[in-house]
C-alpha cells in the first residue's frame, strides 16, 4: 500500500470515527434520565415556538427518525441553536474556537520544544542530579492542578507583582476587535503570557518523560556504541542518533497527549477568563445550554481524533522502516 492510499484509508477511518462520535453524542443526550426534550427545547420558548421546533426535530417521533434528521442537519452545517442567545451553535464555535487554538498551539509549541529538549538531556545523563531535578519538575507540572497553577500565577505575577494582566484576552475597552487584528498588538501578547506559561507548565511533563524514557531505550543500542567506535562526538551522537531515534515513539505518544490538552485548556481558560471554547463549554453546561455544550464537546473530540490521524501520518515520514 502506498503512502497515498494509506492516507486515504486513515482519512476514511477518521470520518467513520467522527460519525461514531456524533452518534454516541446523539444517544447520550437522549437516553439520559429526565425529560429528553429538555436537551432540545429551550425553556425560554413559548408554546408556539416549542411546537415549531418539535416538528422540525421530530421530537415526538421514533428515535431512528430523529437520528436521521439529526444527521441531516449536521451535514447541512446546522448544529442547533443556543438556548440562551438563539445564535446558531456553529457561529458560537467559530467565534470562540480561534482564541482557543491560538492559546493551545502557542502553549504546545513552548511546552513540547522545552519538554523534548529536557527529555533528551535527562535520558542522556542518567542518574545525574540534573536528570533527577528535571524529572521532579516534570512530575510537579503534572501534579499541580492546572487551575491552581493558574491562580498562583495570577496572584504572584498579576496581583502581587503587577507584571501581567490578570484576566481576559484584552483589556477593558480594548475588546471588540477581531482576533486577527488583536493578534498583532502587544497588549494581546501581554495577556497571553500567563495563560501560555501555565498551560505549558502543565503540558510539558508528558513529552519530557516520554522522550526521556525513549532515550533510555535507545542509549543501550548497539549502533550508539558503533558511532562512538567511529569517533563521532558525544554531542553529535546525542542529537543525530539517539534523539532522532527516540523521537519516533514520542510522536505517537504526543497524539494521545493532545487529548489531555483539552482538559487543561478548559480549566485555564476558565480561570483566566479567556474567551475560548473551553470556557464556553463550562458556561454552557452550567446554564444548561445543551446545544452549545453538545457542539463544543463534539469539536473537542474531533480535534483529538484528528491529531491522532496527523500523528499517524507524520510518524511514517520519520521512520523509514514503516511500510504501508
Amino acid at each position: 500500500m502506498s503512502k497515498l492510499s494509506y492516507a486515504v484509508k486513515r482519512l476514511a477511518e477518521f470520518v467513520v470515527t467522527v460519525w461514531a462520535l456524533v452518534t454516541a453524542i446523539f444517544f447520550a443526550f437522549r437516553v439520559m434520565p429526565g425529560d429528553p426534550t429538555a436537551y432540545i427545547l429551550s425553556p425560554y420558548l413559548d408554546a408556539e415556538a416549542r411546537q415549531q421546533i418539535i416538528e422540525n426535530y421530530g421530537v415526538n417521533e421514533p428515535l431512528h427518525i430523529q437520528y436521521v434528521k439529526f444527521i441531516q442537519s449536521i451535514l447541512n452545517g446546522n448544529l442547533g441553536y443556543s438556548f440562551h442567545s438563539n445564535e446558531p451553535v456553529t457561529e458560537v464555535i467559530l467565534t470562540y474556537l480561534p482564541n482557543s487554538l491560538v492559546l493551545m498551539l502557542t502553549a504546545t509549541l513552548v511546552a513540547y520544544s522545552i519538554g523534548i529538549m529536557l527529555g533528551v538531556y535527562a535520558g542522556w545523563n542518567r542518574d545525574s542530579t540534573g536528570e533527577k531535578s528535571v524529572i521532579f519538575v516534570a512530575l510537579t507540572g503534572r501534579s499541580f492542578p492546572a487551575f491552581w497553577t493558574a491562580i498562583l500565577a495570577i496572584w504572584v505575577f498579576g496581583a502581587y507583582l503587577g507584571w501581567f494582566p490578570m484576566t481576559g484576552m484584552s483589556s477593558i475597552g480594548g475588546g471588540g476587535e477581531s482576533l486577527s487584528e488583536q493578534i498583532l498588538t502587544l497588549e494581546f501578547w501581554r495577556h497571553m503570557v500567563l495563560p501560555v506559561l501555565v498551560l505549558a507548565f502543565y503540558y510539558m511533563g508528558y513529552p519530557l518523560l516520554i522522550m526521556r524514557s525513549s532515550m533510555l531505550d535507545v542509549v543501550g543500542e548497539e549502533y550508539i556504541n558503533l558511532c562512538r567506535a567511529k569517533g563521532v562526538s558525544e554531542r553529535a551522537i546525542m542529537f543525530k542518533h539517539a534523539a532522532r531515534n527516540a523521537m519516533l515513539p514520542t510522536i505517537t505518544a504526543t497524539a494521545i497527549a493532545i487529548g489531555f490538552a483539552a482538559g487543561g485548556n478548559v480549566l485555564v481558560e476558565t480561570v483566566f477568563g479567556w474567551p475560548g471554547i473551553g470556557r464556553e463549554l463550562v458556561d454552557a453546561v452550567l446554564r444548561r445550554d445543551y446545544p452549545v455544550a453538545q457542539g463544543i464537546f463534539f469539536v473537542f473530540s474531533a480535534i483529538v481524533v484528528f491529531m491522532n490521524l496527523v500523528a499517524d501520518l507524520v510518524y511514517g515520514w520519520f521512520d523509514p522502516r514503516v511500510t504501508y
Binding site: 462520535l21 510537579t140 491552581w148 482538559g263 463549554l281 463550562v282 452550567l286 464537546f297 483529538v304
Partner: protein
C-alpha cells in the same frame, strides 16, 4: 523478568483440582512477590517519602473528623456572638484569630475544611483507580487472550474511548446525571479504563505465546484457569503501576470538576474549597491562606502517587535498574 517476578509457572502439569488448593497457593505466590517488591522499593528514598506522605493523608482521612476543631460547614461567629467571623486571618498572622488557617468568606474554618476534604479526595482517588484498572485489566485480558473478533470489537471501543477528551466528558456527564462524587467517579472510570486496557492487552499477547502457557493448554487446562493462574499474575504488576498513576489523575479530575462548580454541593473537597475561594475573589482579597493550602494538599497527594508509580516502574522494567 528478574527474580522479583518469579514467572508463575505451573509446576504440576497434571493437576485436576481447580478449587481452593489452587487459589491458596496463588495467593501465597502473590504475597511473596509483593513482599519482594516492597523490599526493593523501600530502598528508594523518594518512594519512602511519597509513601509516608500518602500514609499521612490516609490517616488524616480516617481520623480527620475526630481531630478537626470545627465542622466544615459550620458557620462561626466572632467573639461577640453576633457577627459572622468572615475572612478571619490565620492564627500565625493575627493574634486575635483562633483559627489555624483563618476562615472563608462565609465564616467557615479553613483548617477544618482542609481536613474534612481529605476523605472525599482519597476515596475518589482510590475508588476510581481501583475501578479503572479492574475494568481495564479485565478488558485487556479478554481481548489479548481470545483475540479474533472479540479483540477487534473491544479494541474499537478502546479507540473510541481515546477519541473523547477526559475532562470535558466528565463535565458533561456530571452535568447531566447530577453532581455528586459518586457520579464523578463513574464519569472518570467511563473513560480512564482505556489506558490500562491497551497496555495489558499487548502484554497478554506476548505472554500467550510463552511456553508455559502453551504447555498448560496442552495439558487441558481451561481458559479461565490459564487466565487466572498463569497470565493474570504476570500482568498484575502492570495493573498496579497503572493504578498508582490513576489515583493521581482521578484526584486531579475531581478537583477540576468541583472547581468548575459541578462537584457535590453538600460536601467539601479541596476542589470545592478552591471554587469557593474563586467565587469570593480570594486572590483579589489577598487571602492566600484560603487558596494555597487546598492546592498544596492536592499536589502533595498526586505527586506522591506519581512518585510511587515511578519507583514501581523502575522495578517493573528491571533492565533499567542495572548500571
Amino acid at each position: 523478568m528478574s527474580s522479583i517476578f518469579q514467572e508463575l509457572e505451573d509446576d504440576s502439569p497434571g493437576e485436576q483440582d481447580v478449587g481452593s488448593e489452587v487459589r491458596r497457593s496463588s495467593w501465597r505466590r502473590y504475597a511473596s512477590m509483593g513482599r519482594d517488591q516492597l523490599r526493593v522499593l523501600s530502598q528508594d528514598t523518594l518512594f519512602n517519602v511519597a509513601a509516608t506522605i500518602l500514609l499521612f493523608f490516609t490517616t488524616l482521612a480516617v481520623v480527620g473528623p475526630l481531630i478537626a476543631p470545627h465542622r466544615p460547614q459550620e458557620r462561626l461567629y466572632q467573639e461577640n456572638g453576633v457577627l459572622i467571623d468572615q475572612w478571619a486571618e490565620p492564627a500565625f498572622m493575627s493574634s486575635e484569630s483562633t483559627h489555624l488557617l483563618g476562615t472563608t468568606a462565609q465564616g467557615y474554618d479553613i483548617f477544618s475544611q482542609l481536613i474534612y476534604a481529605t476523605r472525599p479526595a482519597l476515596i475518589v482517588g482510590f475508588l476510581a483507580a481501583v475501578l479503572t484498572v479492574s475494568v481495564g485489566t479485565s478488558v485487556g485480558l479478554i481481548a489479548g487472550y481470545y483475540g479474533g473478533t472479540v479483540d477487534q470489537i473491544l479494541m474499537r471501543i478502546v479507540d473510541f474511548a481515546y477519541g473523547l477528551p477526559l475532562l470535558p466528558t466528565v463535565i458533561v456527564f456530571v452535568a447531566i446525571i447530577g453532581p455528586s462524587f459518586e457520579n464523578i467517579v463513574l464519569g472518570i472510570v467511563l473513560l480512564q479504563w482505556r489506558g490500562s486496557a491497551r497496555v495489558i492487552r499487548s502484554q497478554v499477547l506476548s505472554l500467550r505465546e510463552r511456553p508455559f502457557v502453551k504447555a498448560a493448554k496442552i495439558t487441558g487446562a481451561s481458559d479461565l484457569r490459564i487466565i487466572v493462574r498463569h497470565i493474570a499474575p504476570n500482568v498484575l504488576s502492570l495493573s498496579f503501576l497503572y493504578a498508582s498513576f490513576a489515583i493521581g489523575w482521578a484526584i486531579l479530575t475531581e478537583a477540576g470538576v468541583s472547581f468548575l462548580g459541578l462537584g457535590d454541593p453538600n460536601r467539601v473537597s479541596w476542589g470545592t474549597m478552591l471554587q469557593s475561594a474563586r467565587a469570593y475573589s480570594a486572590v483579589a482579597e489577598g487571602a492566600w491562606w484560603w487558596f494555597i493550602p487546598p492546592g498544596i494538599c492536592i499536589s502533595l497527594v498526586v505527586l506522591s502517587g506519581f512518585l510511587i508509580g515511578r519507583a514501581y516502574e523502575e522495578i517493573v522494567q528491571p533492565e533499567l535498574r542495572m548500571n
